[in-house]
């Protein structure tokens, strides 16, 4: 009964979405207030209905209702509660339901908090959002219905892929979807603006919180997936250029570009058409990612759906959404002439360079991801495009980007002085030289370490130079600097955090790629293996029983210079129901590097095992850096000027009633 209720609620949500997509759009065209106002009610109704639908499916999982096909296929009565709950979205049908739930959540958020939006823009935005929802409701109801019953019900379920039974992967999809789907609202704003034919600073200001939150969620989601791969797959890899990873990375790249170009629209009223274009492309790439993952067209680790009808449906949806948007863009885009003038060397110029490089990187990754498919489709034979290609193309693009990242924020709007900015960065240059030299003395076999560490130091110190300039550090009394620091706009602090975060993450990426230590051997109990400065003594393995698995747990005593450091206990788990095995690495994180041990197959009868011991240098910096980037996004989101529905800031003079009033408040550099 409850399951049917969920099914019914989803059908009702479809009906509500159709209304939300039509009447408010007509209302906005005819300036009919009540019809426009309907969008708000409908958006709130939609989230209630989809929320109910999702709750019903989750209930079926929690109580292990094995009369539901979806539950049978993806759950088991012995599974821990966390994975019963996360099993709701750990499969194709459920994850699509999560997709529409998040879509509805974003729509409802605009409906609830967008009180200061002009009614027509709000109505149109919500109507566009509703049409996306209609597409996905139909997709779920027609091709991927999670509420289908099965009679007679089996005694128990088939279980969930053991790899997915992990806290990191339980929360990876929701975060990722919050990012992916979050860009839908930016897209809807962009389409609404195209329909109205007006993009101005006010529009950019309304859109920026949504871009920022989607970006922060997407960053966190990607990082969580990467972290999961690091500790779960058993060899400490964190990025594989797997097509499915690329699918999430593509909207991140263009979304980051969008975040920056929207600043130019907000502050300088230029790059308008380009920003709209990026909003369309970013959501288009999110849809493409959904298509690639959901259709199974690229067979990869993540693709657990391989039904062509689904693929064709999403492809059709993609074609309609992108075709329609680009047609609208071609028609209306030229009207969006920009206002502000600027010189090549200026803040605008720097942000343009950022956009050029990020978009080229996105195009290169897209090309590499789709090339094997395209080549095969035209009969050009089979080709593999793997990490060597992506690294060869991506790394050279990131070098100029990171160099420019330190310079750009030092340039004023309109017209900058490159020499002066570089002069202020002398200390960053010195730091880069020292870091590079240090890396070179550590390992002269490759230039990659030198390059990565020099870049990281340049960016980190360069970002701090910019902050120091803002707060007049060492030029004004310390109390004055502190006062300025506290008074900085949150968006400025957010930028500093995010840029410094990337620098810190770069240390981790470089360290782990260049100086990783590895030792693979057969170890008998009592034997000691030395890796780097640590010695690992294997103290044997024993069997342990988990809630729904059996495990062999090894124990390693770790010492450094004769002093005990820690005891590491890696496991190999066997899931009898799912008939799968997982490796649970034991990790001891330190700022200099992670001690990382996994247990392999048993060798002979003497209790010996294949053991793999790694030292992953600076990897903690990667997670810390990404955490700072997400934190930067959230801090920036809290900026008073950007908060949705916040009253006008105190200092803003002339609160012009026209929404096209340009930004009056500029940050003094």
């Amino acid at each position: 009964m409850i399951v049917e209720l969920g099914h019914f609620a989803l059908i009702l949500a479809l009906a509500v979405a159709v209304i939300q997509g039509t009447l408010p759009m007509l209302g906005a065209a005819r300036n009919h207030g009540p019809w426009m106002e309907l969008a708000r009610t409908a958006a709130l109704g939609q989230v209630a209905l989809v929320g109910l639908s999702f709750a019903c499916l989750m209930y079926a999982y929690v109580v292990s209702d094995f009369s539901v096909v979806n539950v049978v296929r993806n759950s088991h009565s012995l599974k821990p509660m966390l994975y019963k709950v996360s099993g709701t979205w750990g499969n194709h049908e459920g994850s699509m339901l999560l997709w529409v739930l998040i879509l509805a959540l974003f729509g409802a958020a605009v409906a609830a908090w967008g009180r200061n939006l002009p009614p027509a823009l709000k109505a149109r935005t919500l109507a566009v959002q509703a049409w996306i929802a209609v597409g996905f409701y139909l997709f779920i109801l027609l091709t991927s219905n999670p509420f289908v019953r099965m009679l007679p019900p089996p005694a128990d379920g088939l279980g969930l892929n053991p790899l997915l039974q992990d806290p990191g992967l339980a929360f990876h999809p929701p975060l990722l979807y919050l990012g992916y789907v979050g860009f839908s609202i930016v897209f809807s704003f962009a389409i609404a603006a195209l329909i109205e034919g007006r993009v101005d600073a006010a529009w950019a200001r309304w859109v920026r919180p949504w871009t920022l939150s989607a970006w922060a969620f997407l960053t966190a989601g990607i990082a969580l997936g990467s972290w999961w791969a690091y500790y779960e797959l058993g060899w400490g890899g964190w990025w594989f250029w797997d097509p499915v990873e690329n699918a999430s990375f593509l909207p991140w790249l263009t979304g980051t570009a969008l975040l920056h170009s929207a600043i130019v629209v907000e502050k300088r009223e230029t790059l308008k058409a380009w920003t709209i274009f990026l909003a369309i492309v970013t959501f288009g790439l999110s849809l493409l990612g959904t298509f690639l993952v959901r259709s199974g067209v690229l067979t990869s680790v993540h693709a657990f759906a391989t039904d062509p009808t689904r693929g064709v449906f999403i492809l059709l949806l993609l074609v309609i959404v992108l075709g329609g948007s680009f047609a609208l863009f071609a028609w209306r885009g030229p009207q969006l002439a920009g206002g502000g003038l600027f010189r090549p060397v200026s803040r605008e110029g720097g942000l343009l360079l950022n956009n050029l490089i990020l978009c080229t990187a996105a195009a290169a990754v897209l090309l590499g991801t789709l090339y094997p498919l395209m080549l095969e489709a035209v009969g050009g034979g089979k080709v593999s495009v793997g990490p060597p290609f992506f690294n060869a193309v991506f790394v050279p693009l990131m070098v100029p980007l990171i160099i420019a990242m330190a310079v750009g924020p030092l340039l004023p709007w309109k017209r900058g002085d490159l020499g002066g900015a570089l002069q202020r960065l002398w200390i960053a240059g010195a730091a880069a030289a020292v870091a590079g030299a240090w890396a070179w003395t550590r390992d002269m076999s490759t230039l990659l370490g030198l390059l990565g560490m020099a870049m990281a130091a340049w960016l980190l110190v360069g970002t701090l130079v910019e902050l120091a300039g803002r707060i007049q550090l060492f030029r004004a009394p310390v109390t004055e600097s502190l006062r300025r620091l506290v008074g900085l706009p949150r968006s400025a602090i957010g930028m500093t955090l995010a840029h410094a975060g990337l620098a810190i993450a770069l240390v981790g990426m470089t360290g782990d790629s260049v100086w990783k230590l590895e030792s693979i051997q057969v170890t008998a109990p009592g034997e000691t293996v030395t890796v780097g400065r640590h010695s690992y003594t294997f103290e044997g393995a024993r069997e342990v029983t988990g809630p729904n698995y059996l495990a062999i747990r090894g124990s390693f005593r770790v010492e450094r210079d004769g002093r005990p450091v820690t005891t590491l206990e890696p496991e190999r788990r066997r899931y009898p129901v799912e008939r799968g095995e997982t490796t649970e690495a034991a990790i001891h994180p330190t700022w200099l590097g992670d001690l990382y041990v996994t247990l392999g197959d048993s060798q002979g009868g003497e209790g010996a095992f294949v053991t793999r011991i790694y030292f992953n240098p600076f990897i903690v910096w990667l997670w810390t850096g990404v955490g700072l980037m997400v934190g930067g996004g959230l801090v920036s989101l809290a900026d008073r000027r950007l908060r949705v529905g916040a009253p006008a800031p105190r200092r803003a003079r002339a609160t012009a009633p026209s929404p096209s009033a340009p930004a009056t408040e500029t940050v003094t550099p």
């Binding site: 050029l356 080549l375 799968g580 997982t582 294949v610």
Partner: protein, 171 residues
């Protein structure tokens, strides 16, 4: 799904199903476990082993999904790793080893696609995009700067007003 055989099951169909399930399990075990290299494969000479790793990262495990032979647990990947090491020990250069493996398994085995007619677009695509985007950007910026140059300079009255405005702004 063995509990619920569809109506017209039949021995053969069940057998096919069993094989499919078995293959799926094998594939899954190939992806789910720790890095593939086994202790008995590792060469005694660390320099040679390091070269084997470099080469291993360039080669795709053909029965896996987007894994290099170094990361895979599949039997085939192990065979390929052993093959690479055998060639290295027979004092092949890195190039010769790669060519040998490609001659046996085809271009598909290379994770770094070879330069040839069908991959020109792949290799030069990013540079072309960068060049085209860069050109568009330069033209756009120059047009913007050009508009500014064509504007008349500020009149004395405007200049005075500007200075007055700037004068009372805290820097």
């Amino acid at each position: 799904m063995a509990d619920h055989p569809e109506a017209a099951g039949g021995m053969r169909r069940r057998l096919v199903k069993a094989v499919v399930v078995l293959v799926a399990i094998l594939l899954m075990s190939g992806t789910g476990q720790a890095g593939g290299i086994q202790p008995d494969e590792i060469l005694a000479d660390p320099a040679l082993e390091a070269r084997a790793r470099e080469i291993g990262r360039e080669l795709r495990c053909l029965v896996c999904q987007n894994q290099s032979i170094d990361d895979s647990n599949a039997e085939l990947a192990r065979d390929m790793r052993i093959l690479v090491r055998a060639r290295l020990q027979a004092s092949d250069t890195d190039r010769e080893v790669l060519d040998y493996v490609v001659s046996r398994y085809g271009d598909f085995v290379r994770l770094r696609p070879p330069f040839k007619a069908s991959t020109l677009l792949l290799w030069f695509g990013p540079a072309l995009i960068l060049a085209a985007g860069g050109l568009a950007m330069v033209l756009f910026v120059r047009r913007r700067a050009g508009i500014e140059d064509s504007l008349p300079p500020l009149s004395e009255v405007e200049q005075a007003r500007l200075e007055a405005l700037l004068g009372d702004r805290p820097r």
